[in-house]
């Protein structure tokens, strides 16, 4: 496990993956989404995670803000089905691209234990930024600090990225239950 994780380093190429798309059911690879784009943002995501709910408007507005980048959400939480994810997507009027990662296999390869966790890469899938979208404050909070957006701005301007890594926080992709397989 440690050896696998060692593969993911800044300035090196991220693993490609091909997964089934939510809604259409067709296969989609990360490299396909990068075609004709300057780079991409991958966000590990869950249909039950309350933090992901917070970023619905942020992610829905991503394509409009950054037409030169692609966005791909990867629904990785253990126990979520394509049906449960689709119902969350419909209910929350989510229209950003999403693929289904059964059992969180890609998440594990990408050293991701919680949702949401964002990765910024260039067109060659070179890792540029890894971590939280912001410091989990609301934008109107005086203590709000964005992480992903400043990294994107610097990348698009061709500047070095000041902060390449932050600790991500959110909901665990795999909740480990002892005693209670289900609480309710």
């Amino acid at each position: 496990m440690v050896n696998e994780q060692e593969k993911q380093k800044f300035g090196e190429m991220l693993n490609d993956f091909t997964l089934q798309q939510v809604r259409t059911g067709t296969k989609l690879s990360l490299s396909q989404t990068l075609a004709g784009k300057k780079g991409a943002v991958v966000v590990f995501w869950s249909g039950v995670c309350s933090h992901c709910v917070r970023y619905d408007p942020f992610l829905n507005g991503f394509e409009k803000r950054h037409p030169e980048l692609s966005l791909l959400a990867v629904a990785s939480r253990h126990g979520e089905t394509l049906d449960s994810i689709e119902s969350a997507v419909v209910e929350r009027k989510i229209h950003f691209p999403m693929v289904y990662d059964p059992g969180g296999k890609v998440a594990a390869e990408w050293c991701t234990q919680q949702t949401p966790r964002a990765f910024l890469m260039d067109a060659n899938r070179t890792l540029l930024y890894r971590g939280a979208i912001d410091n989990f404050k609301y934008p109107e909070d005086p203590e709000f600090v964005g992480y992903l957006e400043p990294a994107i701005d610097q990348f698009l301007k061709g500047e070095p990225i000041t902060r390449t890594e932050t600790a991500s926080y959110g909901c665990a992709i795999q909740s480990v239950y002892y005693i209670l397989p289900r609480a309710l």
Binding site: R54, E165, Y177, Y178, L180, A183
Partner: protein, 787 residues
């Protein structure tokens, strides 16, 4: 505490303890008998019940907790009864799924069930009585309400099942828009999830003529505060106090909001304001938060911290545990910055970690860690072996440590002085209805494996334990154990030196029945004998009283400081040294951050509740009396805090206060702070020890320092709470420019004495070797002046 109440509480604690022991052991023995008669077998060790309970006692607890949760999430309405009964039947099916009714082994089922229910009811009732005894009747209703709320909810929020609970509440208010109770609960759940705008929308729909309005508008003020909308929060806070002038929690939060706004806004009437007097004593050292400058501003539901040099480059690195996320490992670059090296370390995969404890269990010169997980919810701990290349390997199973329980802070200790670190794991209660999981002691076999020795050592307790602290308190060369119990009697175990322990709490005078929280040993008065600091968790109202009066209420429960009388007995002295405040302490540590030769305190406070944004505090020891200098020393209001730690991060003699903040609910996110002294308040000497015959980490070693007529005394600790202090021992020397002598008493029994030591440096001693070595080879003034 006056003598009569002390007598009463001792009497009660003895009676309660007898009852609890009977409920656990006598009824447990009856249970075993039925099992034997019916031919059921138990394994040698209790397996981790990943798929649900595997024995009657756990099944009964599980079922009771499930029913409590179902009741909690079911609206009080006749129409809901049939749905709820269906859920209860389903809960029973899940809890008792291990029972095969066709199997003849379960013929004794009715008898087992009766015994198990009986013992659980008895234990729960007695623990309720203990709570009553400790908190008093006036505090009990609020406490009971908060605890039932938290304990029924934790599994739901840890397991991410809040979506179902929220959906259920949403459907209910859609169907019955006048059900304001459910709407209030919906709003509260949304606050706990960090969805503040949604919470605000629901809470503000509760009409002001509703019985639930005062609580709803108060919760709205919390949602707005959390969203950073301080002025709106203050307006809601004013409304909350208009609706219920007795809501002291609203008054306190309005004060916190006012601090964010630079003072009370004009619209806050004088009746709603409060004057805070605690935290403004004159400080001798000022702090600046440098977390964002050095890359340690981790925002999360942070918990335990451990500060240790994992790569032996001399600089102290930091690990921070987090609810729902993995452990973050930060490498100290030695240039005043840290780099997040979690990914690839093997620690990033350890989600839901609670407290981290450091010790070199295999004596290979690399600091290893033991991590407890889940805390208030049963999980199992992990032992990570440090591979020396920046990675850690989970060796829990091969080390024989795969045990589960609601463990809090574990400790490394060499209790038998064989040169190998043993491991102590205290367990709390993991849910509302639960039997005590034993505190466990594991003996290190010296070959990478451990053997449980709990029973033969005699350190069992019936009380829910928060932490244990080990020390050679009677200077006999053996490590004794003080156990701090949450809602229980404190316990001191004397190490008999033959692998057994004797509970000497009563004769030592340390058996108070209290809501104990973190504990550590320290020599606060520099007399060469280790004293006890045991924190206490006080409810919100007592804390608010403390903020207004700079001391706790007369019947409150401040932290206990037990002075070591050098004859096996202790005397409570907290009232004599200024430690009279009541705080909701969840984490505590000590260190001489003003470098005056006297140990100071840092307390991390709060509770899991979202409205309990109780700041951490520092208590500066000024000439033997502690002063709360928190706000005047420049510590901002950071909210609840878990992993309080103190360390010299830059090798410059300034002891930073490191605070990992945050709480258990998904929405309870706060940012880690590093409060760095803006000046070097006095000279210092940092000392590190490498054991050779003794355990390599030298845990248990004692160091006595003499400088210009003043003695100081330290013991290297193997962890006792959410903040695992560095193994490095920091001595503040005030104006002294020479250190006459340093005496090291190694756990092996070797005593070494050194004379004429330097000041303002960090040096390392190796057991049995003459002289010392500098730790920071290239240490330059540039590093110290970096900030």
């Amino acid at each position: 505490m006056n003598p009569s109440s002390n007598l009463f509480s001792r009497l009660s604690s003895a009676l309660l303890e007898t009852g609890l022991v009977a409920a656990q052991t006598a009824l447990g023995a009856a249970q075993r008998t039925v099992e034997q008669i019916s031919g059921q077998t138990r394994g040698p060790a209790e397996p981790i019940p990943v798929d649900g309970p595997t024995d009657m006692d756990n099944a009964v607890s599980d079922f009771a907790n499930r029913v409590a949760r179902i009741c909690r999430y079911t609206p009080l309405d006749v129409s809901q009864i049939s749905a709820a009964s269906g859920e209860i039947i389903e809960a029973a099916r899940r809890s008792f799924s291990f029972v095969d009714i066709k199997d003849a082994h379960y013929l004794g089922f009715p008898a087992q069930l009766a015994i198990s229910v009986g013992s659980l009811v008895t234990q729960s009732a007695l623990r309720g009585l203990a709570a009553w005894e400790v908190m008093g009747s006036s505090r009990m209703p609020l406490l009971a309400r908060d605890f039932v709320e938290m304990f029924t909810e934790f599994p739901v929020f840890i397991g991410l099942e809040y979506r179902e609970a929220i959906e259920k509440a949403r459907q209910r208010v859609r169907a019955v828009p006048g059900d304001h109770k459910t709407r209030l609960e919906l709003g509260q759940m949304l606050v706990k999830c960090g969805l503040y705008p949604d919470a605000e929308r629901e809470l503000l729909q509760v009409p002001d003529n509703s019985f639930f309005y005062p609580t709803a508008i108060y919760e709205a003020s919390i949602a707005l505060y959390r969203a950073g909308r301080y002025e709106s929060s203050a307006r809601a806070g004013v409304e909350a106090l208009n609706a219920d002038p007795s809501n002291e929690r609203a008054r306190m939060n309005l004060w916190l909001t006012a601090q964010k706004l630079g003072g009370y806004p004009k619209f806050v009437p004088p009746t709603h304001r409060m004057e805070v007097v605690a935290g403004y004593d004159k400080p001798r050292v000022q702090f600046e938060d440098i977390a964002h400058k050095i890359g340690l501003d981790k925002t999360a539901a942070n918990r335990g911290t451990a500060i240790f040099d994992y790569d032996n480059d001399g600089y102290l690195d930091i690990a921070i545990a987090t609810a729902h996320g993995g452990i973050s490992l930060y490498h100290n670059n030695g240039d005043g910055t840290f780099t997040d090296v979690s990914v690839g370390s093997g620690l990033d995969g350890c989600v839901e970690a609670f407290a981290i404890t450091v010790g070199d269990y295999n004596n290979d010169g690399l600091a290893d860690i033991f991590v407890t997980r889940f805390g208030f919810y049963a999980g199992h701990g992990h032992l990570y072996r440090n591979n020396g290349d920046g990675t850690f390997t989970d060796v829990t199973a091969e080390a024989g440590l795969s045990v589960w329980g609601p463990a809090f802070a574990a400790s490394f200790v060499d209790y038998d002085n064989d040169g190998f670190l043993d491991l102590y794991i205290p367990n709390n209660l993991g849910s509302l209805f639960e039997r005590k999981v034993p505190n466990r002691l594991f003996h290190n076999n010296g070959n990478g494996t451990f053997t449980e020795v709990t029973e033969q050592t005699g350190i069992q307790t019936i009380w829910p334990s928060i932490g244990g602290a080990w020390a050679d308190y009677n200077n006999d060369g053996h490590q004794g154990l003080f156990v701090s119990n949450g809602l229980g009697r404190s316990q001191l175990y004397r190490n008999n030196g033959d692998g057994t322990f004797t509970d000497v709490s009563k004769e030592a005078g340390v058996d108070d029945l209290l809501f104990g929280s973190p504990v550590f040993w320290w020599d606060y008065d520099n007399d060469g004998w280790l004293d006890i600091a045991q924190c206490s968790w006080s409810d919100h109202e007592d804390v608010i009283y403390t903020y207004r009066h700079n001391e706790g209420p007369p019947d409150g429960s401040p932290m206990r400081v037990y002075h070591n009388n050098r004859n096996g007995t202790f005397t409570q002295v907290q009232h004599d040294i200024g430690l009279t405040g009541c705080y909701g302490t969840m984490s505590a540590n000590f260190g001489d951050f003003n470098n005056d030769g006297l140990l100071d305190l840092a307390l991390g406070n709060g509770s899991p509740k979202m409205d309990r944004m109780e700041p951490m505090i520092i208590l500066e020891n000024q000439d033997g009396v502690f002063h709360n200098t928190t706000f005047s020393a420049g510590l901002p209001l950071t909210g609840k805090s878990h992993g309080v730690n103190l360390a010299d991060l830059f090798g410059d003699g300034r002891l930073s206060v490191i605070v990992a903040a945050g709480g258990a609910y998904p929405g309870d996110l706060l940012t880690t702070n590093v409060f760095y002294p803006t000046t070097l308040a006095g000279n210092y000497l940092n000392v590190r020890l490498d054991g050779v015959v003794s355990n390599r980490s030298a845990i248990g070693a004692r160091v006595a320092l003499e400088s210009e007529g003043r003695s100081q005394f330290r013991q290297v600790s193997g962890g006792s709470n959410f903040g695992c202090l560095p193994l490095e021992q920091h001595f503040g020397l005030a104006g002294a420019t020479t250190v006459q002598s340093l005496e090291i008493r190694w756990p092996s029994g070797l005593v070494q004495r050194f004379e004429n030591l330097p000041v303002n440096t960090t040096i390392r001693f190796t057991e049995g070797e003459p002289g010392w070595k500098d730790v920071y080879v290239k240490h330059s003034a540039a590093v110290a002046s970096h900030h």
